[in-house]
């Protein structure tokens, strides 16, 4: 599933990247502006050595793993969408389910047996036929090997048996009805390659290139934090991509990525998680650059530590006890001015938060009723805190049950500027209530997150057309088995009523009834106050129109390009014919670079001149 948060994520960010990122970012920022004027106006990025058309995309997120059994990050799962077929896909027009590796599917009357017809015109890149046997093996491996269930295990936990009676028929028997049977976001891997793997929890699929696949692109090379290279699959059953090569090139600094776009070194920049308002507005005026500003599929929330615990009942971490009171959580959120977040921080490039699922998924979008809504009202928030027994002391600070002034630790991603900006607002909003805020911004928030060592945290997930996954991460079943284990849980929420609704929606095949249940879950989640959605950030991305003539957004009307639920954007991208227009328009960044360079050189020169004179004085 490509559900994970786009911006580095709190899940499994390798710690050692930290210094490199920090130092690299600094080096890039300092050098980017100075270095660009020297590079050729139109570098080889667009045309490969063999004359093929190359689509270069600037990315920042590291690949966590290239194994479809392990990868959860947006970039990695996007690569899997491009290199492996899934049983089904989503239509770019309106997200309805369309055939993928399976051409047809039907269920038995009791809805417990599903039969898929596998297409016979899909070949692996080593020439062998992709069959039902490959699909059956993929699911069976995930069912039997816990290492292979790491990323997508939730899809198969309810499977009883998977068989392939013949090369074009796949039969899945279920224990209980499961609503996600036409939205199994699991890459199907070639059995004849993968059955040689010993340990799925360690194999990262990054040694043997090109990687055998059957998607629209074939993965040909990967150098961590440098590039990922894919070649067009000429035999792809839906038709070959128009570009010959697709390269994800790393720009850990977003300013450098934008400069590269201006220079034409890359064709597309998505930003991480999106371009800043300033970058978007400055690119809008640029010739040959199109800015795509569309409703995103992410939600952006303030998660509360609900007293982290494991399935065996042991608690972990040190979340603030006062946050176990629902009135306190609701009061805190009532003091968060969501309108200011949209206007000031996102500067209009986001939609005000309501339910858990973004409005783009109209079917599942839910809004609190006027009576239920936690509208911005700091005065009422103060009263709610009073009622919860958190009264102000003589200094105007609220004190907890233990008599100590309240200070909450807010965990934020150092890689996301919005976290820091909103953190500053929280400090002032909650400061008015008499509550202190310590902002802990880390490049890698995984460790305190998994250990439950925080009070509140910034959180965000990309939502799939089928919301099962993002709903599943708040069930009790997702909690870690023991405090030492890692569970699929997002922030340790475990609520009986929510779980009941989750089980009912998963077993509900009627789309409308299921949507109603999902909305009830969202309502429950909203009231609980553990997951407070502040905004749905837009996807703000830009591409060069002199390199990409057209590209499919998803959904077709006002949709995003990077990180789609499918391979549509890169598969459909059409190269622009004209190779003449040079990308070296008068860009302000470059001018600043030159000016800064000259100033710095002059300064250094003057300084050394002085020093020379000074030492001349010293010499006798």
């Amino acid at each position: 599933m490509d559900t994970n948060d786009q911006y580095g994520g709190h899940h499994r960010t390798p710690g050692r990247v930290r210094l490199v990122v920090a130092a690299g970012a600094a080096a890039l920022t300092l050098s980017a502006a100075l270095a660009t004027p020297l590079s050729p106006a139109r570098p080889q990025a667009y045309a490969a050595d063999d004359g093929g058309r190359v689509l270069t995309v600037a990315v920042a997120q590291s690949v966590d793993s290239l194994s479809p059994f392990l990868a959860v990050r947006l970039l990695s799962t996007s690569i899997h969408r491009l290199t492996y077929e899934y049983l089904t896909n989503y239509d770019p027009e309106d997200n309805h389910v369309v055939p993928g590796l399976a051409t047809r599917w039907e269920s038995s009357p009791d809805k417990l047996t599903w039969t898929y017809t596998i297409r016979s015109d899909s070949r692996w890149s080593d020439g062998r036929q992709a069959t039902a046997e490959d699909a059956a093996w993929t699911f069976q491996t995930m069912m039997t090997d816990p290492g292979a269930a790491t990323a997508n295990g939730s899809f198969v936990s309810n499977f009883e048996k998977v068989t392939a009676p013949n090369p074009t028929t796949l039969v899945i028997k279920l224990k209980k009805p499961q609503a996600t049977m036409t939205a199994l976001d699991v890459p199907i891997v070639p059995k004849h390659v993968w059955e040689k793997v010993d340990d799925f929890s360690k194999f990262n699929n990054d040694k043997d290139f090109p990687v055998v696949g059957n998607g629209p692109f074939v993965l040909t090379d990967h150098k961590p934090d440098s590039y990922v290279r894919l070649k067009a699959n000429r035999d792809f059953w839906r038709g070959a991509p128009k570009f010959d090569e697709l390269v994800f090139r790393y720009y850990k600094d977003q300013d450098a990525a934008v400069s590269a776009l201006r220079k034409g070194e890359v064709s597309f920049v998505a930003g991480s998680p999106s371009l800043t308002p300033a970058q978007a507005s400055s690119l809008k005026g640029e010739k040959n650059i199109h800015v795509n500003d569309a409703p995103g599929r992410r939600f952006y929330a303030l998660a509360v530590n609900p007293g982290a615990r494991a399935k065996n009942g042991e608690t972990l971490g040190d979340g603030h006890p006062s946050l176990l009171d629902q009135r306190v959580r609701n009061a805190l959120f009532k003091a968060v001015d969501r309108k200011a977040v949209i206007d000031k921080v996102f500067q209009g490039h986001a939609v005000e938060g309501a339910g858990y699922i973004p409005p783009r998924f109209t079917q599942y979008f839910w809004k609190p009723s006027p009576g239920q809504e936690l509208t911005y009202d700091p005065v009422e928030a103060g009263r709610m805190l009073d009622r919860a027994g958190l009264r102000k002391n003589a200094d105007g600070r609220r004190v907890g049950k233990d008599g100590k002034p309240l200070t909450y630790r807010v965990l934020c991603h150092a890689t996301d500027p919005n976290d820091k900006a909103i953190g500053r607002y929280l400090q002032e909003w909650w400061g008015e209530l008499g509550i202190g805020v310590t902002l802990t911004c880390l490049d890698n928030v995984t460790d305190p997150w998994l250990a439950g060592e925080y009070d509140l945290a910034f959180d965000g997930w990309s939502v799939n057309p089928d919301p099962d996954f993002v709903l599943s991460i708040h069930t009790c079943a997702a909690l870690p088995a023991t405090p030492e284990d890692t569970g699929a849980t997002d922030n340790f929420i475990c609520d009986k009523k929510y779980d009941e609704l989750y089980a009912r929606q998963l077993a509900e095949y009627d789309p409308d009834k299921r949507a109603a249940l999902v909305k009830q879950m969202e309502s429950r989640l909203y009231d609980l106050g553990y997951m407070n959605v502040m905004a749905y950030p837009n996807a703000v991305e830009a591409y060069r129109t002199d390199q990409i003539a057209s590209i499919t957004t998803m959904p077709a009307k006002a949709g995003n390009i990077y990180g789609q639920d499918g391979y549509w954007s890169w598969w459909s991208a059409v190269p622009a014919d004209s190779g003449d227009s040079s990308g070296s328009s008068s860009s302000t960044g470059v001018v600043i670079g030159i000016v800064t360079g000259v100033v710095v050189l002059a300064g250094v020169g003057a300084f050394f001149a002085r020093r020379r004179r000074a030492t001349a004085d010293e010499r006798e």
């Binding site: 300013d255 000031k344 500027p417 820091k420 400090q427 911004c441 010293e618």
Partner: protein, 311 residues
Amino acid sequence: MTTGTGMTKEQGSSPVRSRSLARRRRRDSAARFWRQYRTHRAGLFGLGALLLFALPALTAPLLVGSDVDDVTDAPGGPLEDPSTAFPFGTDRFGRNLLGLVIWGARVSLLVGLLAAVLSVAIGTLIGVTAGHFKGWYATVTMRITDWFLVMPTLVLAIALATVMPRSLLTIVVAIGVTTWPTTARLVRAQTLAVETRPYIERARALGGGHWHIMSRHVLPNVMPLVLAQTTLIISSAILAEATLAFLGLGDPTVVSWGALLQDAREAGAVSSGHWWYLVPPGVAIAVVALAFTLCGRAVEQVLNPRLGVSR
């Protein structure tokens, strides 16, 4: 009786006279110092630049108000161009950048001074004791000094700032404990030179202990060196603070020049051409660092007898 009273009178007045003598001597030497310092044009320029920054920084609460870094009631829109209302434009929260640069001077100068004092204090302590005690103690401390000397300072400071909680104190400590080795080496060399002088031997023969010799005889003699070294280290400490804040290792809620640059970078000011977001804090860092260096070199030349000969 008369002789007796005369005796008591003399006994009573001599400490007073010696104290006033000392005061006059100090006043004279300060005047001499200033006379010599005045002859260094670069030093004067540095001093002037420092005053230019220090005065607004000290009076910032009156000049710009302590609510200049409030984000909730920021006066302008995000990233406004420079105008008469906002001479340096506004930052991404809509705050007045001129006010922020003045406010940021407080943090940058404070951290720079504290870190330099900490660094020089550690360096002096190690240097004087190593020079005085010699033997295995000196060997051990000097090897530790060497180890810190060859470690890349920035990497060490980043590592320290990463593991410690994010606050101004962390930055001060991170800079302080990584930049002391040069001072230690300098001070040790000077201590060795001072300790060979005959009067130290005399003091020792008269029963002066380690503490007496180090504090009464060695320290006053290395003090000019320490003073000059402090002034020089301040500029590198300010740069280090800006670097760490720029790399996002400082307290994200504190306004300093480095943090302003980091904010600007995150807002995408570089690629979107909002130069006024970057230039004022950048120039401020450069000018203050330069000013401290100029002052430090001038002080060094005045106080260091070997450098002073040529004048």
